[in-house]
Subunit: 125 residues, 2 copies
Amino acid sequence: MVFNTNRVKRIITMTSKKESTQSTEERLCPMPQIAKLIGGKWKLVVLQILIFHGTHRFNELRRKIEGITQAMLTNQLRALEEDGLISRKIYAEVPPRVEYSATQKAMDLNEMFEEMHRWWVKYEG
Amino acid sequence: MVFNTNRVKRIITMTSKKESTQSTEERLCPMPQIAKLIGGKWKLVVLQILIFHGTHRFNELRRKIEGITQAMLTNQLRALEEDGLISRKIYAEVPPRVEYSATQKAMDLNEMFEEMHRWWVKYEG
DNA sequence: CAGAATCCTGTGCGATACTG
DNA sequence: CAGTATCGCACAGGATTCTG
């Protein structure tokens, strides 16, 4: 083991409220549920942009995310909004303007993104 | 912005090798590719177990991961092995024994898991 | 501009049965 | 014990068209 064993133990302890009947899947933080929040092909991309590059309009996102269709972007934005990860602000203008931005809940994912990024640079960059 | 802006700037700088033609998706670390490595319904679950709970045999994993089928577990383990995230050690015994463990590459994801876990506890725990 | 509404397709995922 | 081998479906993901 190269990583800090104490930190690992602490995490395992934190997560094991009941010792006996629960599966490992439950005692650790439940990845399937996390996958629902940030899984899929686009959610991490959208979050990354909104977290690190600030508020964007719909078509700004669309242009920045190569390969995504309008429908998919709409879907992902709706899902993210439902999960409280992004906020949607509509301006009563003509032409209509809608701005998307990361909520605090999403902002707090930035540390995770940083770790993910360091890891990526180390092994795939 | 609540989070540390300097760190954010540093990350953006780190990732932008070419400024001009590349999409944001490419200038930041490419989430679609990361999703290929650790995405899907089971990979994070398997990795979490192997990283934080050490080496496991096939059926040990199977028992710990509620709801997974043999076929799926095999698939995910093969994929993870191909990506260099887990190692597979076969013992020439009867009955056969195969042990799976996290590689260093996977071990280095533990910080990301920790951040993910802190976030989960804060918002969903 | 920012979508809604359709329709369509690939494949992620799973159930089941069989094997060295 | 630790797998393969099939089969099949639901659903994520996508192309296209229409609208306030």
